[in-house]
Symmetry: C2
């Protein structure tokens, strides 16, 4: 057999740039080896092999095992140990290593190479039987879990039973003889559960472990994580086989995790945690609560200094904050992994700005460092009023921001309730990677065990969700679905709040306040504004939002949805009467009552946005959205018919039913809404337009500078726009009269129906601007009703890679984007001054902003809290594309 | 004032080609004047003036009246009479004359120029006071109706009361003194109803009449007619002012309508009706039942010969069958109007073929003569079994074809019931133009009065609806909503049938049979096949339809909708169980039961279409379409909860509700349907594909030539097609095995989602054909839900000319068409052999077929009965575009 492609790289053969082939972990191990850090030797099986493995329907490629054996032989020479040798056994770890970091999402096996014989050799050589059997029981447990798919929990129970029975407090208290019993129980467990034996052949161990790592690439939690972070499933994982060092060799040993800066707030300080006499996953799994890294300074000052230097070295090498795993074996430091550290958005901003100020990176690089899709978390809320909080507990401040929600105790319930629109806080003893869907569905996470680097903390930080970890006062009874703290019992469904910035757990729902912008973020935003071309507008429907938007740097309002003004409890009854009206005249009476309200809505907006454009969209949703649901009315009528309800006016109910039936639509998204309403009931638009121009007039009289933009929704044919623009012009003249010359109002349209895009050359003749309503445009271009697609077939579509992304989250460039690009070009051909932009959720999405920049749109409009994000993304796109 | 545009044309100044300026009637009057036919002199006010009138918001353009007066003066000279002169008054008719013929849809006033003084002069000169006062009361009646908007009915009642009281049988029996009384009553009526006086000033009469004609262009029935026939509202109407001749001057006078060939069947024979001592509208209004034209031969042989000659002359001149209005005044023939005659589709075909065979026109002209959108009426059904019909009456066979329906007595009810999906027959004493919406909504029309040229007959023929007219045995009691005939009382809602080809009225519902193709049509279709490029396929879901389609000349099946096979009563319960299944395994059991049925469906199709392509679309509609409606289930559940219903299994109902809720969609059109089903529930498509290939196998074994085309619906991304094509290929191999090489099956897709069109270059890589589903493509491109648009805002859109056409009837070329053209080009660039066609309702629409030809598609597919129509339209488009 001829080997044409190199499938195995020893650490000294690779470097940090080989991530796509060696995975992140492998490439970094190689880099560290080369810069002389104390990294245990080993080798990496490439991601190519993983792809090949899946191409062969889950079989290891021919010849691979021979190559592994050869690499192992080389390793044996370096370590002067022999794999499977009973006297001087070489032990290795087998770890996955994906291209994009997926912390804890995939599988690892330590201490591989132990069997009933070699364990004795290890014990002999280490002169510590307890240590050797501890390693062995860990191997069996991890192997059973990863290779045979047995829940870790089953093993943990046995361990727990043993400890209870013998009253051992810590794992390390268990003596060798008890571990020996435990090992037999573990083997028995495997035998019972999967009818297989734990393999005594160490080469079989290795082969099965390699296969299991490849398989772990497609396990459920890895899929969920990839989906959440948009990681392509073709990347595959590498497998790292590394000689073992032992943190569980007694009190002079240990294992830890270190961030070169504080990942929570970005401060320039060593940050991390450490457990003595522990191995591998013990720290991140959150099984025991570790001690802060600072204590190392006292315990092992020499090692602390070494870590400090290593930190400096690695930051210089990688030009970014590092997340380092290390092990201390008998006071000897080993670096097992480094990678760019996950961090909160706040830390991300501070670190980027600091690194730039330190001269390590440029302003442009600082801007490019920001993962804008994560920035939103900076705008998560905090506790509004610190007084009178019923603080019932305190844990670790694991992920910033505060949240309130109803307590749930398992991720499935969290998901269900959140789909019903409920806000929930997920409360767990500790979270495991299997819980990720529950974390996604929750407002925040609270755990009773685990540290700042536990899964719950890492995952929550990545998602920008508040998280409080390791709140040990919490007594959690998962069977009873409740927890007790300070004698207070909290049941599923009760409201609690958490403050992820301080670690507080608070009883009841609390008022949250909006975030403020840090100095570093201000600096970064200034840098962004100097660089970007795209304007950033806000979607804001009222004065309060407009004010917030302006604070966040909005250069105008790109979308004010006037229907939100119809929905307020005081107005809704009038809106309903207006809809129920039998005649034009009757409808007009109710509209006249609504007008002053609308007028003052607009006055507020004009005042807040003095000097900036304000784009007001005329009424868009179908009228039946303002009426009760047909099925409820029918049930009510039946109750009257059956004599159960007696206090209801039957005639009134019947005429309501007639109206609701009349307005009922099979596909409301494609029905009587948008400009179609304006054409069917011109009096409604007439009222809105009049209110806008009255507001303009009074604002002008107050000396404000008004830049009103009237936006007609759901245009599908130029004649709709032509007619409604004429209506606007007519009302403008009627209301403004002489003042007209002081008011450069503009009329434009949403481009959200494919036909509008296809006939853009006609439509541009009557429009001063095109605002792409990418939500509806996506719905119609794909033929997807968002309500019916998301959480239904669309999930399967993205999971099975029929689509790369959910097109409602990331703008589809092939279809929707083509319509946008083509129509913007056509429109500008007809009217060179035509302004074009995107409003809707894509306006705050990074990839979509890049696309807007690429095709030369003028602006994006997004929700106020996304404005800073959009400013940075716009700068990033300018840097990347100019 | 300078007159720059000629606004008035005397008849001798115009010709037949000036239709768009002079209207049809005016242009033809001019033509007849010029070829020397006995046409009373007069002049025409152009359609320009009408447009100007509407531009001036309904005011006559300045100077027009002066020009009219001048033209009148010229007319006075020719006629040697003076308008308004008491001794020798000139009387004129004022008639509308639109560009496109709209028979009876617009207004006419005769005898204008009469007042209390001139009527005496007319009486003196005619030596017939009865005649003169008859003219005068007609003028007041028509004037009151047309100018003042008073219902004719109000006048008719007075006339009727007078006749009853004095026991006069016919209008002509009323002596002058009674007419004088009637005239005063008519004047009084006007005074009471509109507080105005009938104008004695003849110039005021004229001015008001002209204005009224212009206004009539926008009356309700004219709008409805224009909409039904797609006549642009910008055309406007001309006004014809013509000196009067009198058919009501006694028994030597009369008025009639003549077709140069039989408009019902196309036979080459004079065809028409005549009333002695009658004027103007008497014949077409159907007030008295006229006598056939043949009787003229006996009564006025000289005039009959003159009419025969005139017919010949006009057919030669216009190269088409003519519809002529004439008046006999004291044995003197006058031709008042000629136009191309309306005809049934059957007559249209025969006349075109005959004219071509007579050498008057070419084959191509013959084909172009066919109004294909009307051809469908040829395929209306006739009575299947002539035995045991309960014939209860007989009228005139006014429009071919038979129909069954429930009796309704007014057009509004007809419309309501038909919207509820009911089949109705509209029964009226006589129909008026105001009834047109009722005729549109009915299966057929039955009247007790009126002849073959009455409105009911003309309108029904135009629409291809069966109609029986003048069934005088019918005693109709509109107040009681019933009619009696031969002692049998028929109530509203009872079933009757009519046979428009024989005039029979039949009690009850009868079985109808499908039409056959006439020799002339066969000839024409052969000519069409020689000329056309486009292939014509059929939409057919079962063997019966396929057979019919093949008879009609289908060259394959372009669309078999497999869901229709799911809907049959015997299968639906299994389909429902399949949907309700809790697991894949359970669902599979039900699918396995459906499979043999599906297989035999396909076997039937393959057998009928032996040698021709059969395109089978996999399941398309959302699954909830097969389940009961949620609101009904909820009502039922409430009844159980309230203890009213007791016999229902509550658990079963509840789990049904859960399932229905689960499948419920906000916008089902854009939901979980089409290929999305195939991806979510691969077992459903799997079953269908297996059934298809099993049917192919058994058909091959029977020695049939099978050309199967598997069509995947609702593709929006190439990956959907890629995956489902792989499924097809896999099943094909499994089932066919060795036989695979004898079966060139093809896999293709519907292009019905805009994104599919936009990514056609990708999709074409996996598709052998593109079938444009123009229904859905129109829905999504416009953002129109057809269910919610038609009968709602879309009506207003076409009426108010926001859209030129209902895009579901006539393919939108600007938007939808652009997507089709572009994607077909892209597709063929990737795969030159890619076949492209349109299925869906546009496939049988003439304008749409023209568009398909124009952009180079390969085929159209339409319902079997439209196949001949499509063959002719395809030929017409080839003639016009090649």
């Amino acid at each position: 057999m001829t080997v044409t492609v190199k499938r195995i790289f020893h650490f000294h053969e690779g470097n940090a740039n080989m991530t796509s082939l060696l995975g992140g972990k492998g490439a970094n191990l190689a880099e560290m080896t080369n810069i002389g850090l104390p990294t245990p030797p080993g080798f990496t099986i490439t991601t190519d092999v993983c792809r090949e493995y899946y191409k062969c329907n889950g079989r290891l490629p021919e010849g691979l095992i021979d190559e592994v054996t050869a690499a192992l032989t080389e390793l044996e020479k370096v370590k002067n140990q022999t794999f499977g040798n009973a006297d001087n056994p070489l032990l290795v770890s087998v770890r996955s290593g994906s291209v994009t970091s997926m912390p804890g999402m995939m599988d690892t096996i330590l201490n591989l190479g132990l069997n009933d014989q070699t364990v004795k050799g290890l014990a002999r050589n280490a002169q510590d039987a307890r240590f050797a059997y501890d390693c062995y029981r860990r191997l069996i447990q991890m192997f059973g879990n990863v290779v045979f798919g047995i829940e870790s929990y089953s093993f943990e129970i046995k361990l727990h039973e043993l400890k209870s029975k013998k009253k051992y407090e810590n794992d390390s208290d268990i003596p060798a003889e008890d571990l020996l019993v435990l090992i037999e129980e573990f083997k028995q467990l495997i035998r019972y559960q999967v009818s297989r034996e734990f393999p005594q052949d160490v080469h079989e161990q290795l082969r099965l472990a390699i296969e299991a790592v490849f398989q772990s690439w497609n396990n459920q939690r890895a899929k969920v994580y990839r989906k959440a972070y948009g990681i392509p499933s073709e990347q595959g994982t590498a497998v790292n086989i590394q000689s073992m060092v032992f943190g569980n060799l007694g009190e002079q040993s240990g294992t830890g995790v270190l961030f070169t800066r504080n990942p929570s707030n970005g401060e320039d300080e060593l940050y991390g945690e450490f457990l003595t006499n522990a191995q591998g996953e013990d720290v991140v799994a959150g099984v025991r609560t570790p001690i802060p890294i600072l204590y190392l300074k006292q315990k092992f000052p020499f090692i602390y200094d070494q870590l400090f230097e290593t930190s400096y070295l690695l930051e210089k090498q990688y030009k970014d904050m590092q997340d380092i795993e290390f092990t201390i074996e008998n006071q000897q430091l080993y670096i097992l992994q480094t990678r760019n550290g996950k961090r909160t958005a706040q830390a991300s901003v501070k670190i980027a700005v600091d690194l730039s100020k330190e001269g390590v990176i440029t302003k442009e690089e600082a801007l490019q460092r920001i993962e804008v899709n994560q920035l939103e978390q900076l705008f998560h809320r905090s506790i509004d009023d610190e007084n009178e909080l019923k603080v019932i507990g305190k844990g670790l401040p694991a992920s910033s921001g505060a949240a309130s929600g109803q307590v749930v105790f398992d991720p499935d319930t969290a998901q269900e309730l959140s789909m019903d629109g409920k806000k929930v806080i997920l409360v767990r003893i500790e979270t495991t990677p299997e819980d990720i869907h529950g974390v996604l569905a929750s407002q925040g996470v609270l755990t009773s065990r685990g540290g700042m680097t536990s899964h719950a903390a890492v995952v929550a930080r990545g998602m920008g969700k508040p998280c409080v970890c390791g709140c040990s006062e919490l007594e959690l009874d998962q069977d009873e679905n409740c927890f007790t703290v300070e004698g207070i019992a909290v049941q599923e469904g009760d409201w609690i709040s958490i403050d992820g910035s301080t670690g507080r757990v608070i009883l009841g729902q609390i008022k949250l306040k909006d975030p403020e912008i840090s100095d570093e973020l201000s600096t970064l935003l200034e840098w962004a504004d100097d660089i970007r071309d795209l304007k950033v507008y806000a979607n804001a429907d009222n004065g309060k939002d407009a004010k917030k938007a302006r604070e966040f740097g909005a250069e105008g309002i790109g979308l004010c949805r006037t229907e939100h003004m119809f929905m307020s409890p005081s107005r809704l009854p009038i809106v309903q009467s207006m809809i129920m009206a039998q005649s034009y005249e009757e409808r007009k009476i109710h509209l006249d009552r609504l007008m002053p309200w609308q007028q003052s809505d607009f006055e507020e907006l004009f005042s807040e946005m003095n000097g900036l454009p304000v784009t007001i969209r005329l009424l868009d949703p179908p009228l039946h959205e303002f009426l009760p649901k047909l099925e409820e009315l029918l049930l009510q009528k039946q109750r009257i018919d059956l004599g159960v309800d007696k206090d209801v006016d039957r005639n009134e109910l019947e005429s309501l039913i007639v109206k609701v039936r009349n307005l009922h639509e099979m596909n409301p998204m494609l029905g009587q809404r948008g400009c179609r309403l304006g054409i069917l009931y011109p009096e409604i638009y007439d009222m809105q337009i009049e209110a806008i121009f009255r507001a303009i007039l009074s604002s002008l009289q107050k000396g404000l500078e008004v830049k009103p933009q009237l936006m007609i929704p759901l245009i599908s044919d130029v004649n709709e726009l032509k007619r409604l623009k004429a209506l606007v012009d007519q009302v403008a003249e009627e209301i403004l009269g002489e003042e007209l010359k002081y008011c450069n109002y503009e009329v434009g349209t949403m481009i959200e129906v494919p036909r509008a895009a296809l006939t853009a050359n006609e439509i541009a003749q009557y429009a001063e601007f095109f605002s792409y309503g990418t939500n509806d445009l996506t719905q119609m271009t794909f033929g997807y009703s968002r309500d019916d697609a998301e959480g239904k077939f669309l999930d399967q579509y993205t999971e099975e890679k029929i689509l790369d992304h959910n097109p409602f989250e990331v703008l589809d460039q092939k279809g929707v984007g083509r319509l946008i690009q083509w129509s913007a070009e056509q429109g500008k051909m007809v009217k060179p001054k035509l302004k074009t932009g995107v409003c809707g959720e894509h306006g705050g999405n990074k990839e979509s902003i890049f696309f807007c920049q690429q095709i030369g749109l003028d602006y994006v409009s997004c929700s106020p809290f996304r404005i800073p994000l959009a400013r940075i993304a716009a700068a990033q796109s300018a840097i990347e594309l100019n």
